[in-house]
Symmetry: C2
Subunit: 355 residues, 2 copies
DNA sequence: CTGAAAGCGCTTACAG
DNA sequence: CTGAAAGCGCTTACAG
């Protein structure tokens, strides 16, 4: 019997070739399923590979082909169910196309994002899907220049024109406000993780999605003839706890809001908690609407009306666009807006009579 | 000025060396921070690298060193907050040690798991953390034989003795049942995704964690002198919807249970929904306890008492053990059990008087 | 401290 | 259809 590879290390193509009694070129062709190989040679090689437990070293292969069949997914918060759903959408589409996805989490930290992108590029991934955590696109521009296509998910970047997949946040929030105003509310609050107007004017780095939702809120209120639309706007809610504290403030106001809009499902959790702890009843004492159809929103009493994003479809779409770019698509970049869906449940009622 | 690399492709060490006027060996040493390089040479090389925008090709480097500084994390359900938390723990610990983590999701599909492990191995990751989705450990045994250390997270494998990190599920559930029995309950139900006893006897592949929780439930009930502990056991709840349906069945029983234990937070969601839809009040009409401190459990009314697992710490521990193995730790494998914490909230009361 | 050269495990023209 | 050989971008003894 021919000698196997040095024990400890994995068998290589020369090991397989030796055992099958062919050249490494023939073995490589049989193993790779390319080029021309006689049936006899192929069988001998495959058998030898089986016996040796050969596994191709993708690293070596990628060095030659320049492709890794892997895409990098950089999301901002893996504990946000929206991103978990989007990540599944990306993975499903990628896997169908024979690609693996490397999922990474920035935790909304721009430095972490830069470093992650650098590492992914050095591993020569074929493309990148990112939910950017700051308006600074320098590292993404660099990635693109290095030949790595980039698709943006959930968040636009003014300075970086690439395929971007998200929902029409302005319209979705306008719709929420219209419904609330339509139900008779005039004192409508919003709790969000976005920046305040002062912060934006001061040039702090904000995220398009948060800003769009705030803009939708403010313009809809203004259009409804409400004088000071920012009165009940509370920004900077980056966790359920912060959202809870901000909502407590709102509830403590002399003219407290009669309806609260929560800009994502983690904020909604904090809003609901504050409402509960204040002893108010939804919707009789106060109305509320959330963003993102987190699983718990339909189970609480009352079920919360929300704007549902097609998280899975957004992820899938982002992956498909990226895959097309990887395959050489040179069309000008587009903004892909998908529809949201208002799920009317039982958390909205007219304002309480005494207000 | 010296010529740069062929445009389009990334600059390589020879490109940098040429521009700095040194050999590739010297450039490689300066860039890699190893070996001996004069200050002058180092500066010239670093400057040239900067100008060219050189980024090391980690693929090529890994081929030489045999290390990728990457660990693979294979979890079963990314939409389960427990796994999301554990994944963050793994990432935090790995990143601190200079490792990247490749996160993948099997969706509880053993075939997907096998295929994912194969791909990860072919990419020559340095180690693997997996929450196995079936008792079949063949592919993991193979990984280990190929020199890739493996650590198990959340789930034991009888046939595969490696470091395993989880909680004492039997004890945790026994504790829940004891509390319920202590409050006066005799008709205690459990809804779980685990296999039934029949399925286990028929040799179907089950997961240790589910089985342990069922065992804890059954033995605690038997110890409390309850005759037919399986009466209110409902298995096969793999989604909130299925859990909801099973709970509806339980509630429809002539002698319906007075307390329900949900074996994880997604099951708890379905259980709560069914209870709500049946018009029962927690805890006055029925008591309930969940597993895993999902964020919504403290926000619903009443807040649900749960067994909290230290998800983040479990992930971190798994990563640290794996990193130690990668660094050559040869100790015999151990089972690391971390403590759970019963969070007593407001979902448990004595059984309703009429029952 | 520096450089020429071999080699990691593959793929791929190029001849035959 | 098959094989000898070059090469992907690095690292690393080995001389000097």
């Amino acid at each position: 019997m021919s000698r196997g590879p040095a024990s400890g290390s994995s068998p290589t193509i020369p090991d397989v070739a030796r055992r099958a009694g062919v050249s490494t070129a023939t073995a490589a062709r049989a193993l790779g399923g390319y080029g021309a190989v006689s049936a006899a040679a192929r069988e001998a090689v495959l058998a030898a590979a089986e016996e040796l437990g050969y596994r191709r070293n993708e690293l070596a292969r990628s060095m030659i082909t320049g492709r890794t069949n892997t895409i990098g997914l950089v999301i901002a918060d893996i504990e946000n169910p929206f991103f978990a759903g989007a990540a599944r959408g990306v993975s499903d589409a990628a896997r169908e196309a024979g690609y693996e996805v490397v999922l990474t989490n920035t935790d909304e930290d721009p430095d972490a994002e830069r470093s992650i992108v650098r590492v992914l590029l050095s591993k020569r991934i074929d493309g990148l899907i990112v939910a950017p955590t700051s308006p600074d696109a320098e590292h993404l521009v660099a990635a693109r220049q290095a030949g790595c296509p980039v698709v943006l998910l959930d968040r636009r970047l003014e300075d970086f024109a690439v395929d971007t997949v998200l929902v029409d946040n302005v319209a979705a929030v306008r719709d929420v406000v219209d419904r609330l105003v339509g139900a008779g509310h005039r004192r409508v609050a919003m709790v969000t993780g976005a920046l305040s107007y002062e912060e934006r004017r001061a040039g702090l780095p904000g995220i398009s999605t948060g800003q769009d939702r705030v803009d939708g809120f403010l313009t809809a209120l203004a259009d409804a003839g409400i004088a000071e639309p920012t009165t009940y706007l509370r920004t900077g809610a980056h966790s359920p706890e912060q959202a809870c504290a901000l909502t407590e403030e709102l509830i403590a106001l002399p003219d407290r809001p009669t309806a609260v809009f929560a800009s994502n499902s983690r904020v909604a959790l904090g809003v609901l908690k504050a409402i509960r702890e204040a002893g108010l009843e939804v919707p009789r004492g106060i109305s509320m609407v959330g963003f993102d159809d987190a699983d718990w929103t339909s189970v609480v009493t009352p079920p919360i009306s929300v704007v549902a994003q097609p998280a899975h479809a957004l992820g899938r779409q982002a992956a498909e666009l990226l895959l097309a770019r990887i395959s050489g698509d040179e069309e000008p970049p587009r903004l892909h807006m998908m529809a949201t869906n208002f799920l009317s449940r039982a958390s909205v009622a007219p304002p309480p009579p005494e207000s």
